[in-house]
């Protein structure tokens, strides 16, 4: 119910909410136009979309039966043929089927780890930048401490201690990659905090939660977004490395576990290139795609970086 004294919104004039949404849409469109000008970023986007489609359509492309060792139809390490386009692995399964289904696990772990890393990193970065007193410095110290923990040794220990499962791998990657995000968000928060509109909000009596949630967070979000794509790249690489070291989920096939079994059966020395080359190439393609997108996004958001 509108109070009678209040004038209804005139046609053609927009409410503040509509206005802010319109402005956000415009900013997004401008950003997209800018992004489209980056050839490498667009190439990365194309590759990423292709891989995501393959991962989503895995059941349509290859039957899940192909993952079962007992239902394998091929011979041991058969070279590529009309029946098995990319040959077979040591148990006679089609490498192409493993590759298609493996993309799901590799991408899933990458995304899951990124979400964990982003949530922790953004939260700690925001708070350590916003609060100037002892709370802020403790959080900052905490970030610094985590930053110096060497990733692989810690990941090895955590994976050993926590056990080997899909979620644990993502968790391990997440809790070892958040500090760089936190530092980035912190420096952004520090600069945004000094801007006049936040001073104005403070004067008008905005609480801390309102200042952080409505003013600072929306402003650091684009940076978080750009950082996210770079973190996905790092997370997929980490998943591959951890699985290769035998720390992956033993019940699921990912590109990393494929490379692990290729290494254990000595695919390099027997010349079974179809077993160790395709998974590696997929990892390189996906990681490169996310890296290219991330770099292009960074340039779109930070004009100082243009031309790099």
């Amino acid at each position: 119910m509108t109070a009678p004294t209040e004038t209804p919104v005139e046609a053609g004039r927009l409410s503040t909410r509509q206005l802010s949404w319109q402005r956000r849409r415009q900013a997004l469109a401008r950003g997209w136009a800018e992004f489209r000008r980056h050839r490498s970023g667009m190439v990365g986007l194309g590759i990423m979309v292709a891989f995501v489609l393959v991962a989503l359509c895995a059941p349509l492309l290859a039957s899940a039966d192909g993952l079962s060792v007992t239902k394998a139809t091929g011979g041991v390490l058969e070279s590529p043929s009309g029946k098995f386009w990319l040959g077979t692995d040591e148990s006679g399964r089609s490498v192409l089927t493993l590759l298609i289904w493996g993309s799901r696990i590799s991408l899933l772990v990458g995304l899951l780890a990124t979400v964990i890393s982003m949530v922790i990193g953004t939260l700690i970065g925001l708070l350590s930048g916003y609060f100037t007193g002892w709370a802020g410095s403790i959080l900052y110290r905490f970030t610094e401490w985590f930053l110096v923990i060497p990733f692989l040794p810690l990941a090895i220990i955590l994976a050993t201690v926590l056990g080997r499962s899909l979620f644990n791998i993502a968790l391990v990657i997440g809790i070892t990659t958040w500090p760089s995000t936190a530092l980035l968000i912190r420096s952004q928060t520090l600069s945004i905090k000094e801007r006049p509109y936040l001073e104005r909000a403070r004067v008008l009596g905005a609480g801390r939660a309102h200042q952080i949630g409505r003013h600072i967070l929306p402003n650091v979000m684009p940076m978080v977004f750009a950082n996210t794509t770079l973190t996905v790249a790092a997370a997929i690489l980490s998943e591959t490395t951890l699985s290769f070291l035998g720390l992956g989920d033993p019940t699921r096939v990912s590109w990393g576990t494929m490379l692990d079994s290729a290494y254990s059966v000595g695919a390099m020395t027997t010349g079974s290139w179809w077993f160790f080359l395709p998974p590696g190439l997929c990892v390189v393609a996906v990681v490169l795609a996310f890296t290219l997108i991330g770099r292009a996004l960074e340039e779109v958001l930070d004009p100082r970086l243009r031309g790099r």
Binding site: E144, V148, I157, V161, A234
Partner: protein, 348 residues
């Protein structure tokens, strides 16, 4: 790549305040040393609790399936001091760590510190050589890429660097083994597939040195390519940052030759961030070597920790983790001190 993530954001606070009350260098050093000591303390706490608290009952995790009787379990608890209260265990752990007592390896049955000292040299040789090579080549490449920006050379080498950067370095090692050690088709392999030496008896010192060098060619090449990608990208970005600066225009207006402007003006300033990142990365010696040593079976600290994973040899894992994190803290401190020395602005 793992180390890249951390390496990209050096823990240096670069917030030049207006007013510019720069601290004196000794005060800056003092602050940084204190900070590092804090990190070290945190590291020790993490190290202690990771192995004792997280899994619930350490004896069960540590001796997975090896104890059949309660007596054996009690014996294990006593020898590892696990029957003491947690606080007491922590102080024992601190005392032992500072006196170099890192426990006894379950697999080899020798003190972990001795084992690690033995295995340190191959790692230092491998990582040291690769770091020196990749630093020199990477910086040189970065400068040339940035100076001739958008040229064909720049585009192709930057593309290559980005691809290498997106590649698990151990996979590159596997491919190189397949090509150069095993050989493709009629072309025979020329390099050894792994190991640090051929184990031949009666070699003279020089022969042995050459043998080791021969075995290290592929691993060093692999690691150099991996680091090279990162260093050249960083150097390229730092030089590009300087390109638009006024002092370069001034230098050109003075009539200096292009090469003088580049080497004496732009590169000098661009070296700052690159130096820090390289100093920081030196700390990731162990982490960097883990996968490469595994793939090429080089008996260094990295291979030691992946082997310990199979047993699992907890004290060895703890020891290598302690060494790895200590190295990072030390390198971090060195990077900060170096930066403070080179650029007085960060001391504020």
């Amino acid at each position: 790549m793992s180390m890249v993530v951390a390496g990209e954001a050096p823990a240096t606070e670069v917030t030049p305040r207006s007013g510019g009350r720069g601290k004196s260098y000794p005060r800056y050093v003092g602050g940084k040393v204190l900070g590092s000591l804090g990190s070290l303390a945190f590291m020790l706490v993490v190290n202690f609790f990771l192995f004792r608290v997280l899994p619930g009952d350490p004896a069960r995790t540590l001796g997975r399936g090896r104890f059949t009787t309660p007596e054996q379990l009690a014996e294990f608890n006593r020898t590892h001091g696990l029957d003491q209260p947690l606080v007491e265990q922590f102080f024992t752990f601190l005392r032992n760590t500072f006196t170099g007592d890192l426990g006894v390896s379950i697999k080899y049955n020798v003190p972990v510190s001795e084992l690690m000292l033995d295995r340190m040299w191959p790692t230092l040789l491998l990582v040291g050589t690769s770091t020196i090579l990749s630093t020199v080549i990477g910086i040189w490449m970065g400068i040339h890429q940035a100076w001739k920006r958008d040229s064909f050379l720049d585009r192709s080498t930057t593309g290559t660097a980005l691809t290498l950067y997106s590649m698990p370095e151990w996979w590159l090692g596997l491919v190189l083994i397949a090509v150069f050690s095993v050989g493709i088709g009629p072309i025979p392999g020329i390099f050894p597939t792994g190991g640090l030496d051929s184990g031949a008896v009666g070699q003279s010192a020089i022969e042995h040195g050459l043998d080791v060098a021969w075995h290290l060619v592929l691993p060093v090449f692999t690691l150099t390519l991996a680091y090279l990608a990162e260093y050249s990208l960083i150097m390229r970005a730092s030089v590009l940052d300087e390109l638009g600066e006024d002092y370069l225009t001034t230098a050109r207006a003075k009539g200096l030759r292009d090469i003088q402007v580049r080497n004496n003006h732009a590169v000098r300033n661009a070296m700052l961030p690159a130096t820090t990142v390289i100093a920081l990365n030196l700390g990731f010696v162990v982490s960097g070597a883990i996968t490469i040593e595994t793939v090429f079976s080089i008996p260094g600290l990295g291979l030691l920790s992946t082997e310990a994973l199979q047993t699992p040899d907890y004290w060895v894992l703890q020891g290598t983790f302690l060494f790895a994190s200590g190295a990072v803290i030390f390198a971090n401190l060195a990077a900060n001190l170096l930066y403070g020395l080179l650029d007085p602005r960060v001391r504020s």
